[in-house]
């Protein structure tokens, strides 16, 4: 999956995330308070929790089910648990969310 437009930035409220379905994948796009975007897999590898529903800050998102915490840039589990999600290069182009590459 490279270089696809998956939705509009307006669909994601500031500070929150929304899930987009792309080619059979579910990707959670976060719109940080500084305006930048982050994109990771939408499903927690632990027990399938919806990461777009998690509380996030500029670095991490906390899964709402059991508190596993994932780095929004690298997808690694911040608490040291042996699990991770994929992260994607994402940018806003003329108000559209564009996924350009899988980074991990």
């Amino acid at each position: 999956m490279t270089d696809v437009e998956i939705g509009s930035v307006d669909e994601v409220p500031v500070g929150e995330a929304r899930t987009f379905a792309v080619d059979g994948e579910q990707i959670a796009v976060f719109r940080l308070r500084d305006g930048s975007l982050r994109a990771i897999d939408a499903v927690c590898p632990h027990k399938g929790g919806p990461l777009a529903d998690g509380l996030a800050d500029e670095r991490v998102v906390v899964c709402p089910l059991h508190g596993h915490t994932f780095d929004l840039s690298t997808g690694s589990e911040a608490g040291g648990a042996d699990m991770s999600v994929r992260s994607y290069e994402v940018s806003a182009v003329d108000g559209a969310i564009r996924i350009t590459n899988q980074t991990t």
């Binding site: 307006d10 669909e11 994601v12 409220p13 500031v14 500070g15 929150e16 995330a17 929304r18 899930t19 987009f20 379905a21 059979g24 994948e25 579910q26 959670a28 308070r33 939408a42 499903v43 590898p45 027990k47 399938g48 929790g49 919806p50 990461l51 777009a52 529903d53 998690g54 509380l55 996030a56 800050d57 500029e58 991490v60 998102v61 906390v62 709402p64 089910l65 059991h66 508190g67 596993h68 915490t69 608490g79 040291g80 648990a81 042996d82």
Partner: protein, 822 residues
């Protein structure tokens, strides 16, 4: 290129293994093909007894419909039997002539009914004689139901669990039923002779005749080939026109045997659930033999499926199955039975405790080895089963008075020193953290309690184990616990305790969570784990002036419902004081129908919970309910439980119902550091359980009311402390508000009243909120009034979402709800 995974067996084990594989993204790396002998989707075999008994319909026991296979791109070959495996070419041949290549093969062929040899059992090579049934498949079950309508007298061969369930089911359908058992003891796999004898009496008591020590040698038919009866080895006989064979099961191992895999009682597997002969073949469920054990219960099968999935997907190549401790609890022929581990002592040193009361059908035994519970059997009275199962699973130290393992005699001393706790004792049940994990975290160099909690996730669920986690860390660190300055901070991301934090917020007039971070956090950095607590605190402090940024809210508070394990939500409408009416009940019933609610549950707080609601359906559900939120999802004022009070109850001393409703109306939805559950009860019989609530009120006669605070009956048990005895309901309402406000302003985040009240001391609290010795009461009352005035039903959000996509699904490709599927 995706590898090809072929699963032989579409039963509970095979499909569970696939579900676990999909959870680990196996859908991406594998093309999955499933062969199922039976021409159906996947159903819950355990519920066949219910179908026979008529309590479930045959269509209600499906676990995964055909949609599920489609949605997950699984190629289901239902009704196709695999007849041969060519391990060297990695091919499976099926009876429809197809040949399918595999990279990995999962054998989940399960078991079949065992038919003991007896003359006349079979009409021909394949078909049983008229009126004779096995009890294993949905077809068996439907066949029995159809035939039961035309037949009057049934015999069930087999006095085990399945046989007794079949007998009870057929009796429900109007037949006279006899059970024939070859051995001397009913349910001999689980029960000893005494227990079997007591069960026999209970079974006979409901009108089922039991014949023991009877070996059936012949099935008799009349001249038309219709079933007429059975003959025993001693020459005696019974007439019957229906016969069910439930004499045990045998693993289906023929396919594996022909493929040259090692088969003993079942297919022999290693700790990764692979055949010991072939790394590309996994085996799961009743057809697997692991370390000499073959399991016929469902719990071990779940554990096996997890290990298999971890291994085959490469998620965890070291995942290993170590066998299961099996415990069962069930109702057989109307009798409660629980059994775990050994049914009798085996070593000379084993302790054996036994209680028998045959007249009431009660029998209990316990086997203890080296101070640990290694076996227990309970018959007729299973009230202690949860404690025993826990002790059995986790090796908890047992009370010295062994009798308290069987009966509630006062409160046994369960406060166990942390040193005595066994290494595998579960400490945090929410996140599954045991003592050994905590200890090794400390030994790994983490010596602060908060650090250990962050690394292991212990105490990060409901938080009720925090104290125990702290004690274990202290013990493991041998007194070298690092004093963690952050331990006193209200939230982890801002370096102030609660009074200092509140003072800064007030002085700087910080009304939103983002402004608090900007002004007070080191480098102005946001912290996800601080947001929920800050939002709650700001709402408490500012009420209507609070600027509610939804990104600072936990998902439950973003969508005003409680998130469930599959990402659906539970919806609990307000039902003040637990009093409802036909209009509300009709609304709830209509909503449950319209949205196909998978479970409707009465809550402990006297309300009705609609579980499994999709996020995107929430606004419509609320609109159709047309009732306000019950706040069953927040760290907030939850409910006031009441008894029926003085209007109807002939013992009622005060109108508890009206008072409970008045309290709930006034304080509904208040934000607080942890949830607040209340109760009002109309006399000291205390039907509303007011003594174990955050705040409980008891009518004691002559118009007087007692107010208790700091009670609990959840993860902790604590009787509330008496705050005051007052003369009228108005004073109760006022004191309730004042106490709750004091708690809201002074408790730590997630600190329930049962910790807060003893920490501050009931005398101190009484001096401040009742006697007002420091003159703070008026301020508390005024700030509470401000919060009360700011109440707004959050379900109004349903009409006009406050953020874009507030109710949009976060798992768009999953078909929710998944419960009761998993």
């Amino acid at each position: 290129m995706a590898q090809r995974l072929v699963v032989v067996g579409n039963g509970m084990a095979g499909v569970r293994a696939i579900e676990e594989i999909l959870l680990r993204r196996g859908g991406e790396s594998f093309d999955i093909i499933v062969f199922g002998d039976e021409p159906y989707g996947n159903y819950n075999r355990i519920l066949l007894s219910n179908v026979l008994a008529g309590s479930d319909g045959a269509d209600e026991i499906y676990l995964n419909g055909l949609d599920w296979y489609n949605d997950n791109d699984i190629d289901l070959r239902a009704g196709v039997r695999v007849v041969r495996i060519d391990r060297f070419a990695r091919l499976v041949h099926a009876d429809d002539g197809s040949v399918t290549r595999y990279d990995y093969l999962i054998l989940a062929t399960g078991s079949r009914s065992f038919f003991p040899p007896m003359a006349g059992l079979w009409a021909d090579d394949k078909a049983l004689t008229d009126g004779v049934f096995g009890f294993r498949t949905l077809d068996d079950c439907v066949g029995m139901i159809t035939q039961a309508a035309h037949r009057t007298k049934a015999v069930v061969i087999g006095g085990g669990l399945l046989g007794l369930e079949a007998a009870r089911g057929l009796q429900n359908r109007g037949l006279t039923v006899d059970v024939v058992h070859a051995g001397p003891t009913l349910m001999n796999a689980q029960l000893d002779d005494v227990a079997g004898g007591i069960l026999r009496k209970s079974v006979q008591g409901i009108g089922i005749t039991v014949h023991l020590d009877k070996r059936t040698t012949e099935v008799r038919t009349d001249e038309h080939g219709r079933l007429a009866g059975i003959v025993f080895s001693d020459g005696s006989s019974i007439d019957c026109d229906m016969l069910v064979i439930a004499a045990g099961i045998r693993p289906n191992v023929g396919l594996a045997q022909r493929a040259g895999l090692t088969v003993e009682r079942a297919i022999v597997v290693d700790d990764h659930m692979r055949s010991i002969d072939d790394d590309n073949i996994y085996v799961v469920g009743e057809c697997a033999q692991h370390r000499g054990q073959v399991y016929g219960l469902v719990a071990p099968l779940w554990e096996q499926a997890t290990v298999l999935a971890d291994h085959v997907t490469g998620t965890d190549r070291s995942a290993a199955y170590h066998g299961s401790r099996t415990a069962t609890k069930l109702k057989v022929a109307g009798v409660d039975v629980a059994a775990m581990g050994l049914k009798a002592p085996e070593l000379d040193d084993d302790e054996f405790v036994q209680y028998s009361e045959p007249r009431h059908g009660v029998y209990k035994t316990i086997v203890i080895r080296d101070g640990k519970l290694v076996g227990a059997t309970l018959l007729g009275d299973v009230s202690k089963v949860s404690f025993l199962m826990q002790a059995f699973d986790s090796g908890l130290p047992l009370p010295d008075e062994r009798v308290s393992l069987m009966f509630d005699i006062g409160t046994p001393d369960v406060a166990v020193g942390v040193a005595e706790l066994s290494d595998d004792a579960q400490v945090c049940n929410c996140n599954g953290v045991n003592k050994a994990t905590l200890v090794s975290c400390v030994q790994g160099g983490e010596t602060s309690v908060t650090g250990v909690m962050a690394k292991t996730k212990a105490g990060k669920g409901c938080g009720s184990c925090k104290e125990l986690v702290g004690q274990i860390v202290e013990w493991a660190a041998g007194g070298a616990v690092t004093d963690d300055p952050s331990a006193s901070w209200y939230v982890p991301g801002i370096p102030y305790d609660k009074p200092t934090l509140m003072r800064h917020i007030r002085e700087l007039e910080l009304h939103s969570v983002s402004s608090v971070f900007t002004a007070l956090a080191p480098d102005g950095l946001e912290d996800a784990n601080s947001k929920m607590a800050l939002a709650s605190l700001l709402e408490t402090m500012w009420a209507d002036e609070f600027v509610d940024e939804r990104d600072a809210r936990f998902v439950n508070d973003r969508v005003h419902a409680n998130i469930q394990r599959d990402g659906t939500f539970s919806v609990v409408p307000q039902m003040k004081g637990g009093v409802t009416n036909p209009w509300q009940l009709r609304r709830i019933a209509d909503v449950a129908d319209k949205y196909a609610i998978p479970m409707i549950k009465l809550t402990g707080g006297q309300r009705i919970d609609l579980l499994g609601v999709r996020k995107e359906d929430l606004p419509a559900v609320w609109a159709d309910l047309d009732m306000p939120s019950g706040y069953a999802y927040g760290k907030s004022f939850r409910t006031v439980k009441t008894c029926v009070g003085s209007d109807f109850c002939r013992y009622g001393l005060g109108d508890s119902t009206a008072l409970g409703i008045a309290i709930e109306e006034r304080y509904q939805g208040l934000a607080s550091p942890a949830k607040m559950k209340l109760a009002v009860t109309g006399c000291p019989r205390n039907c509303a359980e007011a003594l174990c609530k955050d705040l409980g009120v008891v009518a004691v006669g002559d118009g007087r009311w007692e107010v208790y605070v700091g009670g609990a009956a959840g993860a902790h048990i604590r009787k509330g402390d008496l705050l005051a005895t007052v003369d009228d309901p108005e004073t109760v309402v006022m004191l309730t508000g004042r106490f709750l406000q004091y708690y809201r302003e002074n408790a730590n985040w997630l600190e329930r009243t049962y910790t807060f009240v003893p920490r501050v001391g009931i005398d101190q609290i009484r001096a401040l909120v009742v006697d007002d010795v420091e003159g703070v009461a008026a301020g508390l009352d005024a700030r509470m009034q401000k919060s009360v005035d700011a109440y707004r039903d959050p379900w109004q959000d349903g009409r006009e979402p406050v953020t874009e996509g507030q109710f949009r699904t976060s798992l768009p490709l999953l078909s929710l709800p998944q419960v009761p599927v998993r």
